[in-house]
């Protein structure tokens, strides 16, 4: 029937748009990056070879494929070149940051979910409000707070708690502070949405069955908020691994993070090919937690809640 046909086409169109979007703006650029990562640096425009040229036909294509190599991956994965260490330290920093975010974010989200219903939108607004200021400016502000002559050191010295400024800026600690501060909303919001959905009568039932409130938190509230914990943790962990601005501005010279290595490789060493290989490997590293996240989501959908 004509109507059924048009509905079918309409549905196809609706589904096609996001796929086309992903194809054009994610998959194609990613394939270009993969291709560059398999190329060699060259003093040319573009600064790598081979360049794919349709005009040379089949023979040209075969020649093109034969020039691709995994050399850049060998370089990036080479133990002495610092990239492996940077991947490792990125994962460690991101993991510790995520744990800290969870420690800081959970009580905030819990308090928000427990606040009177009328106050909750205002609290939600307060969590989102920092986004209205540029991310860069907010990270710069931390330099002003953490530097030897910054607000924090001055305050502590005025109070007589310390005699000389603490070395805070350009340390891993500053990076943790920066990440926790910047990413907090990404942790709080999914946790809040999980905790807010929690049925209060479940806690009453637990108490009624002889479970004191603190214990009820660990046997009822926390397990039921785990989907929110997983969502928040991955929303923070994934971008934190590739974080560049915060370690660059707040971290020290010995703070190794893959985002910083990539930046150096691209700007200082001007190697498009090696930095592409770094980017592709970063994606491979992050695919694991993303797949875990999607698994959790799928299981939740299955549970029908």
């Amino acid at each position: 029937m004509a109507r059924a046909g048009s509905t079918g086409r309409g549905r196809l169109l609706v589904i096609a748009i996001p796929y086309l979007w992903l194809l054009a703006l994610f998959l194609v650029p990613f394939l270009i990056v993969v291709k560059i990562s398999l190329s060699q640096d060259a003093l040319a425009q573009p600064p790598y070879t081979p360049v794919f040229d349709l005009a040379q036909g089949w023979a040209g294509f075969k020649d093109f494929v034969s020039q691709l190599s995994l050399d850049n991956y060998g370089y990036v994965l080479g133990w002495d070149n610092g990239f492996v260490e940077a991947y490792g330290s990125s994962l460690v920093i991101a993991s510790i940051s995520t744990a800290l975010l969870l420690l800081v974010g959970y009580p905030i989200a819990y308090a928000m979910a427990r606040a009177p219903k009328g106050v909750q939108p205002a609290l939600l607004m307060l969590v989102i409000l920092p986004f209205w200021t540029s991310f860069l400016i907010r990270v710069y502000a931390w330099i002003g707070i953490l530097s030897p002559e910054g607000f924090l050191n001055q305050g502590l010295m005025t109070l007589g708690l310390i005699d000389q400024p603490l070395e805070l800026l350009n340390t891993d600690l500053a990076v943790y502070i920066g990440i926790v501060y910047s990413y907090l909303p990404f942790m709080v919001l999914p946790l809040y949405s999980a905790l807010e959905k929690l049925d209060g009568t479940l806690l009453e039932a637990a108490q009624d069955l002889g479970c004191p409130p603190f214990k009820a938190f660990w046997s009822i509230t926390f397990p039921l908020s785990l989907p929110g914990v997983a969502a928040g943790a991955l929303l923070c962990f994934i971008p934190a691994v590739g974080e560049f601005v915060i370690p660059d501005l707040l971290g020290g010279s010995d703070t190794q993070m893959i985002g910083k290595s990539l930046w150096t490789e691209f700007t200082a060493n001007r190697s498009w090919t090696a930095s592409s290989a770094v980017a592709v490997l970063l994606l491979v590293v992050l695919v694991v937690p993303i797949v875990i996240y999607q698994n959790i989501q799928a299981r939740q959908l299955e549970a029908g809640k």
Binding site: D199, T201, L202, E204, A205, A206, Q207, D208, L209, G210, C211, P212, P213, K215, S219, I220, P223, L224, A303, G304, K305
Partner: protein, 390 residues
């Protein structure tokens, strides 16, 4: 105990004679003393005093917002009384937190833990008591057998039907063998047939476990079926506490008469009040009304005559009918509700008032059924109505 006798007979024998509220020597298990609960300016429970006895099945009945759930939640420990006190076994339980009270509750929403299996849900309360693993396992199996869900132990709540969830909630709340089980609208989410079956199961369960049950419901049939005594609440006050038959046949006020079942309420004036009979005059009929009830009210006072539809007779007015006898009304059939087992006739009196009379359909075929616009006479016996002053 007469264990050899059939179980039903034993239960029947217990039910026949169970009336501790009539025994002045009996000490109540639960005692509400002048309990008041206010939320801001709103008084949810107003000066309620109530005794509930061991092994009693007590129902709190009332419309939504009447304070029955608040009263129950105070016993569970989720709300603290603003005034008055609540004692359990003679001890004031005001300061005792819910997790230390020997009282368990079955929640209206069931409140099953969604991340735990059926068995873990039932075991939850037992684990809190630090019961040995083997004992927990045995008790959980016993509870599952009790509610006939043995094969569902490993399921999660979302994999069960509504009726099955209700059973799990029941099993979980009785697993700890509490002194008192509180049931908050326990059957509200079930369909009618299942609800009726479950009502009788609840009664058997209460008998076999020997527990005291306090049920909160807005369904009067449910309350009347299951309960030994019913406490009717309205606007935070307990208006009458009595066994179901007393509530129905001797309601204390017009509100209760109207709330429980169907009733015709007629405004009347006392003509003469004797020690065991009262004569009333009603504007709706020229006939005098006689009710077999002693009443300490002077002649001329306005009182209300309450008569249930099933306690009146309706018959066609014959052409050569004599003058209107005592306790009779005349009118025409305005509407008929045919319910199968009985028919409800709405009779419009000459003054425009409509009264309801029901009649069991004892025979399948009636030669001349009463139908719309028929002229009828409605009569009732002197002991059919009850005179209410409030």
């Amino acid at each position: 105990m007469a264990a050899d006798q059939g179980r039903t007979q034993t239960i029947g024998a217990v039910r026949r004679t169970f009336a501790p509220w009539d025994n002045p020597a009996a000490t109540p298990l639960i005692r509400f003393e002048n309990v008041v609960k206010t939320f801001g300016a709103f008084t949810a429970v107003n000066r309620v005093s109530l005794d509930i006895y061991e092994r009693e099945f007590f129902a709190l009945l009332g419309p939504s917002g009447c304070g029955k759930t608040t009263l129950m939640r105070m016993l569970a420990g989720f709300e603290a009384p603003t005034e008055g006190r609540i004692t359990l076994n003679g001890e004031d339980i005001s300061g005792v937190p819910p997790y230390r009270r020997p009282v368990n509750m079955m929640f209206q929403s069931y409140a099953l833990f969604p991340h735990m299996t059926v068995a873990d849900n039932i075991a939850f309360g037992l684990k809190q008591d630090g019961m040995a693993k083997a004992d927990i396992k045995a008790r959980v199996e016993e509870m599952l057998a009790l509610v006939k869900l043995e094969s569902f132990a490993k399921r999660k709540p979302h994999q069960l039907s509504g009726g099955q969830r209700q059973r799990v909630a029941l099993a979980r709340s009785v697993a700890k063998r509490p002194k008192v089980l509180l049931l908050d609208e326990p059957l509200g989410a079930l369909d009618k047939k299942l609800r009726e079956e479950t009502q009788f199961e609840l009664m058997d369960l209460q008998m076999s476990l020997g527990m005291t049950f306090l049920i909160v419901t807005h369904d009067q049939e449910e309350a009347m079926t299951v309960a030994d005594r019913i406490g009717v609440m309205n606007h935070g006050e307990l208006v009458q506490v009595a066994p179901p038959a007393v509530i129905y046949e001797q309601p204390a006020t017009r509100y209760i008469a109207d709330f429980i079942g169907d009733v015709n309420l007629l405004e009347t004036k006392v003509v003469a009040a004797g020690p065991d009979e009262v004569e009333l005059a009603c504007e709706k009929t020229p006939a005098p009304l006689r009710v077999a009830q002693g009443l300490g009210v002077p002649a001329g006072d306005t009182v209300f005559l309450a008569i249930r539809p099933e306690k009146m007779r309706v018959e066609l007015k014959e052409a050569e009918a004599g003058p209107l006898p005592e306790n009779a009304f005349e009118g025409v059939i305005w509407d008929i509700g045919y319910l199968g087992d009985l028919s409800v006739y709405h009779v419009e009196l000459a003054c425009g008032t409509r009264i309801k009379v029901s009649k069991p359909n004892v025979s399948r075929l009636v030669e001349r059924p009463i139908t719309w616009e028929d002229k009828v006479r409605v009569t009732f016996a002197p002991d059919a109505g009850v005179v209410l002053t409030r």
